[in-house]
Every structure is written in C-alpha cells, then in structure tokens.
C-alpha cells in the first residue's frame, strides 16, 4: 500500500459499512460459452476447470489455474519466477519488444509464457512446465526455452517424470534467430530426460503451433490433446494463403490429429488430472525410491486450495473423481 491518503466521503463510508458482505468470489470473471452461449459465473468456471458444462467447449485457462486444477489437493510450487526476457535484437515492430513484454507481464501477472513447477498430480510427483497463451501468445523466446530446459534438468535431478502442457503460437518472432534456437535447446534438454529413463508426458492445449509443435511438444512419450485444440505446424490461415487449398473446418484440431495418428488421446480437461495420475502410476518403476517427494508444507497449501474449490465440485461435475472429494472431506492423510 502506498502512503497516499484515501478521500472518501463519510456518506459513502457509511453505506459500505452497512452493506451485507457479498458471497466471496473466486477470482475469475463470468463468461459465456462461444459455442452454445451458456452463461457461467466466475466461480463456476473455476469449478469446471473452465470447460462449458453444457457443450464441453474448452475455454483458455491460465498456467496457474491449470496447475491448481492439476494439483487438486496436492501441492505445486513455482520455480524460476525470476527469469525474464532480454531484448537481444533491440527489436521493434509496431511497438518495442520490452514494452510488449511489460504489458504482457502486467496483463497476466506472469514472468513469462511458461510456468515451471514442482507438482503432484494425484499424489504422483513430477516436474511441470505449463504454457500460458495469454502471455504474448504463449510464444517461445529464450526464457521459455531456458525454463523448459531447467524443468527437464530438475526432473532428472529429482528422478521424477516430466509433464509439459503447451499452448503456444510458436517461436517468439521478437527474439529472431535466438528464438529459433530454443527449439534445439528444448530438444537437447528432453534428451537428458530420455537418457535418465524418465517418462515425458505432453498435453497439447489450444493452440499448439509453429516452433513449439515442431520441437519439444511433438516429442512426448505419451501425448494427450485437449478437445478442440488446434495442433499444427502452419495454421489454417497460412496454409490457405500459401497453397490456396480450401481446408475442412476440423483442420488441425485435436480430434482430426488423433485420426492422423499425431496424438495418443483426446482428453477432456476435467478428466486430465485423473488420467495423468493413472498414467504416472502405470509408469512408476518399482525402484523409484530415488524420487524426492515435496516438502509437506506445499502439499498443505494445495489441500487448502483444493478444499475451497472442491466444496462446489462435489455437486457440480461427476467427472471430477470421487477420490479427491473423499480425501478432502475426510482430511488429507499426508498432512497429519
């Protein structure tokens, strides 16, 4: 808080004082589904993991909301928040690059287009890199490349699987050829995880295109896609311009990419934590005692958050697994 005095008339103060406290809203705005026009209140959106309950439309979800959703009652702790973009080319298009970055930082309250975290999904520890399309179209510059690479190295260090959730337009033009090099950098880092014989799970969210799809996003051991996500190297607009082909309406969407053999499954976001938890459980090696669990405190943070969300969850969606609800209502066995 700044030391500025606040000028409010006495009248207004009195009015505030008598107003009954409104029910607390979880921070998110109301939205209408662009496909079926069903209206959702902000807290409903959070409860439904930003998926339309009427038609299954997947809204964009921020990286931190995604981590909350994936972690459920378990914890996540953000890593390397202190990495920020530089401006190696002194790049200016319609606005200078640093100005665009500052605006994106202010709009999203993120440091970059990817959030890296230690995470537990249904009790299975992993290291996660979750991209946020809201930050300059999720574009991959040097910082995104560096954070993804560090996430890989941390997964190796902790001996846990790597989880990557992508949502990106591709390489960040404003960093020129250095952004292109991030494709190589992330793949080099993935190779370290491969060598450590740890699983890599990639979830492709809308959209995953360009240099991100043509690098690490395509190299998961298991690749899930969210319904309706555009997954392509070149977007439909570019293809229509260059080749004058008329594209079908489902071009490049997750469902058609499943048909093309480019992804392993299309998974509803509401089922994602359960699916990932199951997958990680299948892949867990009997000798995985080397995996270092998270400190207890972090799990507790997550449990508190999950309890708040889950109060609504229990009545709202059957898709959310009983297990969380049970564990939240019966108390978190871990934290005792």
């Amino acid at each position: 808080m700044s030391g500025k005095p606040i000028h409010v008339t006495v009248d207004r103060l009195r009015r505030f004082a008598h107003r009954p406290e409104r029910p607390r809203r979880i921070e998110a705005d109301d939205r209408s589904c662009p496909r079926c026009e069903t209206h959702f209140r902000g807290e409903e959106m959070v409860r439904n993991a930003r998926v339309c309950t009427a038609c299954g439309y997947h809204f964009a979800i921020s990286a931190r909301d995604r981590l909350d959703h994936l972690a459920g009652e378990d914890g996540w702790r953000e890593l390397w928040t202190e990495l920020r973009a530089a401006d190696p080319l002194q790049f200016t298009d319609l606005a200078p690059y640093p100005q665009r970055v500052r605006k994106a930082e202010a709009d999203t309250e993120l440091g970059e287009a990817v959030v890296t975290a230690d995470l537990e999904v249904r009790g299975r520890p992993c290291v996660a890199a979750v991209m946020d399309f809201g930050f300059m179209g999720g574009s991959m510059g040097s910082v995104v490349g560096e954070k993804v690479a560090r996430a890989c190295e941390r997964a190796v260090e902790r001996g846990v699987p790597l989880l990557v959730v992508t949502a990106s337009g591709g390489a960040r033009m404003q960093e020129g050829v250095l952004a292109l090099m991030q494709m190589a950098k992330t793949i080099v880092a993935f190779e370290a995880v491969n060598e450590a014989r740890l699983p890599i799970v990639v979830v492709l969210a809308h959209p995953t295109t360009g240099g991100v799809w043509a690098s690490f996003a395509a190299l998961g051991d298991v690749t899930y896609a969210e319904p309706g996500a555009l997954i392509a190297f070149s977007g439909p607009r570019v293809i229509e311009q260059v080749t004058r082909e008329k594209l079908p309406p489902d071009f490049g969407l997750a469902e058609s990419q499943l048909h093309n053999g480019q992804v392993d499954a299309v998974v509803d976001r509401r089922e994602l934590p359960e699916r990932l938890g199951r997958l990680l459980a299948i892949l867990e090696r009997p000798d995985a005692s080397g995996a270092q669990p998270l400190p207890l405190q972090w799990a507790q943070d997550g449990a508190d958050r999950a309890a708040r969300v889950a109060q609504g969850v229990a009545q709202a969606i059957p898709a959310i697994p009983r297990r969380i609800v049970d564990r939240v209502t019966k108390g978190n066995g871990k934290s005792e």
């Binding site: 033009m173 392509a232 080749t243």
Partner: protein
C-alpha cells in the same frame, strides 16, 4: 575453422575484422537477403557435384514417398565416404515446382533421418546444406506430421555420434532450416541468411502486412555476420567477389576449405565428447535476464546481468590457417 580473435592466423583474423562489423542498415541487410535468394546462387546439388568426386542420391522415406525438396545421399569426398542432406530449390520454373521451391515435406525430413541412420551405421561424417524459405505449409504435410518430422529430425541430429557439420548456403528460415541445423559445427556462407521466419512471413504476422518485408528484415537482422556475433554460427565462409552466384566453383572451393577443416577437428574428438559438446552448445543458446530469488525490487528497477547468446563451449584448438587458403573477398564488391 573457428575464426575467433584468439584462434590466431593472419587469414583468420582478417575474416574476423571483416565480419565484426555487422550490417545494421536495413538496405544493407535487404541486399544480403536478395543475394541469398539470387536465382543463380549455387544450390546444394551444385556444391555436392563440385565437392564430391561421386555422389549417389537416395530416394524415399520408406513410409510414404519421396520429397524432391530434400536431396540426400552418400558421396565420395576427398577419398572418404560422406553422408549429405541438402535442401534444394529449383533453378527454372519447372524444376522449382518439382522441388516445391525448396520447402520440404515430412517425408523429406524422414528421408534425411534415414541418411543420418546410415551415417551412424557406417560411422561416416554427415554434412547438411541448408537453403529453404521454410517447411512446406500444406494440409497434407500437416496430416503426415510436419511438426513431428522436424522435431524428430532435430532429435536425430542431437543424438547422432558421427561428426556433423551444417552449412547454411542460402536462405535458412524457420524450423524447416533448423531441422537440419543442429550440428557440431554450424557454418554460414557470407551472403546467406538465418532467421526464425522469412521477412515476408514476419511482416505478415508482426506488421500484418507482407509488403513490410524490408522493415521486418531490418528488425530480424538475419545476416551471417549477426548470427556469428550472437554465437549461432561458428564461422562465416567468405564468398567470391560479388557473391557465390558469380563463381560457383570458387564458392565451392571456399566451402571445401572450411568443411575439411571442420571435419578434421571433429574427427579428432571421441564420439561421446562430440555429442556432449554439441548438446552443451545448443543448451546454452539464448538471451535472458535472471534476478535474485525473492528480490522483486530488482525486477522493478531492472538491475540485471545480461547474458546474451554467448558462444558456447570453448572452441577446441584450431589448427593454423591453411597456407593455400584463398583470399577472403568482400561479399559485396563488384
């Protein structure tokens, strides 16, 4: 091969002087782009026929088809076998259509991966020659996994234990170029370009107007000298006066000199060490700022250590310059 000031040699130092001054002026950069795209500029096959005494081209990815935008095969180079992958544009309209203007499809990259595997099996070095406006943006290419093909091609080049040299001989744009660009040594012909996207593509996205290509080129600064300065490439290969299109034989001769030296250096390294250095090099590319943890004040005030795309692992000792090396020529004389 690696003409940094410390590497010694009069010839080498003169090249460094020449390229330390990177063209910043938009018109200078635009001129370089025009030269990189010059219709008479030697294409990979022109270099291959001059470098190799014999060359056997291989066709097909053994899964779907053959992509003429990528030429791949094995050649006899200085009396030793050499695996080569190149991106081939076409010279006349008919050939351009046949080669799809040098825009590879997934089967092209898969053909390349076949040749990488062959190089590994026979333990022979691999050279890639890059000249593409980008990977082909088409519905069919997408269906057959354009993104995955590029990613796996990069992965194959990260993994391969054989000595690898990538040379950007013309236009190197986007993932289509990088798919063949992850090598132990990355060289660039003096008038070639290397960028995240073609200037036209960048202008269409950032300026929403493809006709602003000149402006975009000035912003991307995709010239060889800039790439050298950023640590993206290890050496800039000089071209004959006026550019490679004036004298393909001389251009091939200069490429030959650098290639031989790079391969000699790489052969001296153990296999594991080559892979380690290659990975280390690409792991470090990039430019970011990093602040002390939990010091938001520093972020606000912008107190930072800038680590630019510094060049990579310390270059291995470079043998003295070739005694008979040709004179470096200004790329834009004449």
């Amino acid at each position: 091969m690696n003409p940094r000031p410390s590497s010694g040699g009069r010839f080498v130092r003169r090249i460094v002087d020449r390229f330390q001054h990177a063209p910043e002026d938009t018109s200078e950069i635009w001129e370089a782009i025009q030269l990189a795209r010059h219709p008479d500029r030697p294409y990979p096959l022109d270099y291959i026929t001059r470098l190799c005494t014999d060359f056997e081209e291989l066709h097909g990815d053994r899964a779907y088809g053959d992509d003429p935008a990528i030429v791949a095969g094995v050649g006899r180079y200085h009396d030793e076998p050499l695996a080569i992958i190149g991106e081939q544009k076409g010279r006349d309209t008919q050939e351009r259509t046949y080669r799809n203007f040098g825009m590879p499809s997934p089967e092209g990259y898969r053909k390349g991966m076949r040749v990488i595997a062959l190089a590994e099996k026979l333990d022979i070095p691999l050279v890639t020659l890059i000249d593409t406006p980008g990977a082909y943006p088409g519905a069919g290419a997408e269906q057959r996994g354009q993104g995955g093909a590029i990613a796996r091609s990069i992965l194959a080049m990260v993994r391969t234990p054989v000595p690898t040299v990538a040379v950007i001989v013309g236009e190197g744009s986007s993932g289509g170029a990088l798919a063949l660009g992850v090598a132990d040594r990355v060289l660039m012909m003096a008038n070639s370009t290397y960028s995240v996207i073609s200037p036209e593509g960048g202008a269409a996205i950032l300026w929403r107007d493809a006709s602003k290509a000149r402006l975009a080129a000035g912003a991307f600064r995709p010239t060889a000298s800039n790439c050298y300065r950023w640590g993206i490439v290890d050496a800039v290969i000089p071209e004959p006066p006026g550019g490679a299109h004036r004298d393909a034989d001389a251009a091939a001769g200069l490429l030959d000199t650098y290639l031989q030296r790079a391969l000699r250096e790489l052969r001296a390294l153990p296999r594991a060490e080559r892979v380690r250095q290659r990975r280390e090099r690409f792991r470090r590319l990039g430019a970011h700022r990093e602040f002390a943890v939990g010091d938001p004040g520093a972020i606000a005030a912008g107190r930072v250590e800038l680590s630019t795309g510094a060049p990579v692992s310390p270059p291995p000792p470079v043998p003295a310059a070739e005694p008979g090396a040709p004179e470096p020529a200004s790329p834009r004389e004449g």
